[in-house]
Amino acid sequence: MPFCESFEQLGRFHNSLLGVSDAPFVPKGFLNEVIRKRLLIDGDGAGDDRRINVLMKSFSKWCHSNFSPEEGFSQYQRMLTSLAQCEFSMGKTLLVYNMNLKEMENYEAIYADIETSITSAHEKIAECKKEIQRAKRIRKNRQEYDALARVIKQHPDRHETLKQLEALDKELQQLSHIKENVEDKLELRKKQFHVLLTTIQELQQTLENDEKMDSDDTQESLMDNGD
């Protein structure tokens, strides 16, 4: 019976779900019985199975036993309806099966989509992390630049200081020029005064000498006269 195989598979699956495998205190046979009973009570497959069995039985009864034509015809009608019902449920299950297959395909496609978007998100995250590192480096460099610029701003401008230095240089030169001129003048005046003073002294000397000579002369002439 095909159902027995599936029951066994279900039983093994149930075992694996419970986390037991050949565990002594939960025998496989017991679980199989439980699953079989459950499926028979709840499953739709039970109704069809019974209907087919009933159909087979009624068909064989209809063939073998002697019915009146009306009874036979009504039996025949009943069998046809149950056959139609079986066909209908078979069609239904076929459609459900196809639908499940299509849904599986759909889910596979969605799954693949999600996989690709996960990998692309991972890549984006890695990119963004690199960007953040770069941005942090840039921020640090900017801050260092700002800090240094602040310190440099505190010192006066170089051009200004150079200009001031040049102006001061010029002033210095002018002043030293003037100083030289004044010194030259002073020298000249000194020399002139010196010349003047020496000539005066010489003149004085000569005058004194003259006076002396004069007085000597008069003394000599007096002495001469006395003799």
Partner: protein
Amino acid sequence: MNSRKMGPVELLHMSVFSQSFSPCGRFLAAGNNYGEIAVFSLSAALSPDASEGSQKPILNFTAHDGPVFSLLSTDTHLLSAGNGEISAWSWAELIKKNTKAAWTRKPNYETSLEIPEINAMIINPKDNSLTVGGGDNNIHIMDMETGIFKSVLKGHTDYIHCLCFKEREGEILSGGEDGAVRIWDSRTNRPVHCIEVFKYEECARPQFGKWISCLATDSDWMLCGGGPSLSLWHLRSMSPTSVFPLPGCQREAVFYQDLIMSVGEGPNVSHCLHGGTVKAQIPCSPSSLNTLALNLKNTEHRVMTVGGSSHQIDVFTNFSYRAFSLSF
């Protein structure tokens, strides 16, 4: 695992002074004022099924007589500095809960009467030497392979709080209680510059003092703070470019990407920008903080941990808020 039973009063008075991450980045070692070092497993604490127990240390032992002021990790060892001595512990052994020190050495102190504490240690990767600074106002340099203390840098007039290393130029920066940041050339062991931060009006805070307790460098820039306000200096022009308006004295500051993070007095971690603005102040559980550490070696466990005057060490997975706390 606990070498001493901690009563509630002792836990209340505990201060965490130093932290260091293991070279693989999966463990954190922290040193406290009782001389103990606790090793925490970050992978256990950060895993999705972490519990109360995973926030306790996997190993807790007494390493020194005095407080452990400084911890440093090399590729294989954890170096710890206590009262005047430096001990090295192999990380592999510590993970296996073996607490035997690989070696213990002392710098050559001038007087043998006092044993000065060691406040800061850094490694110079260029010549594989360990630079330590402490209470005797001098910086001692030890060669890691031979263990010989090859030179002493003298110049500070008071004890040294912090050390920092500029890779590109091979210069050592030291900040001390005397308020001076001195820059030394590591090849010639001669002083290159001396910046007296408290003499600059924009940084000085005479109500707090002139001592420098934190130093950090990032190529041409330097952070220093302590008594004076935390300030960002441009080293080429030796001028302060930004001063950060933080109320307390800062005890540790680091550069991280485009931010400056600093901890100090006050139960906050301050995030600042280079321009001088304080972007955010993140609250923490200790009432004042002594140490901040960033685990950049391991991308899975990229966390920031801070410790201070509490037996708890706050862990930040997103640097904007406290995730949970490890406790001694």
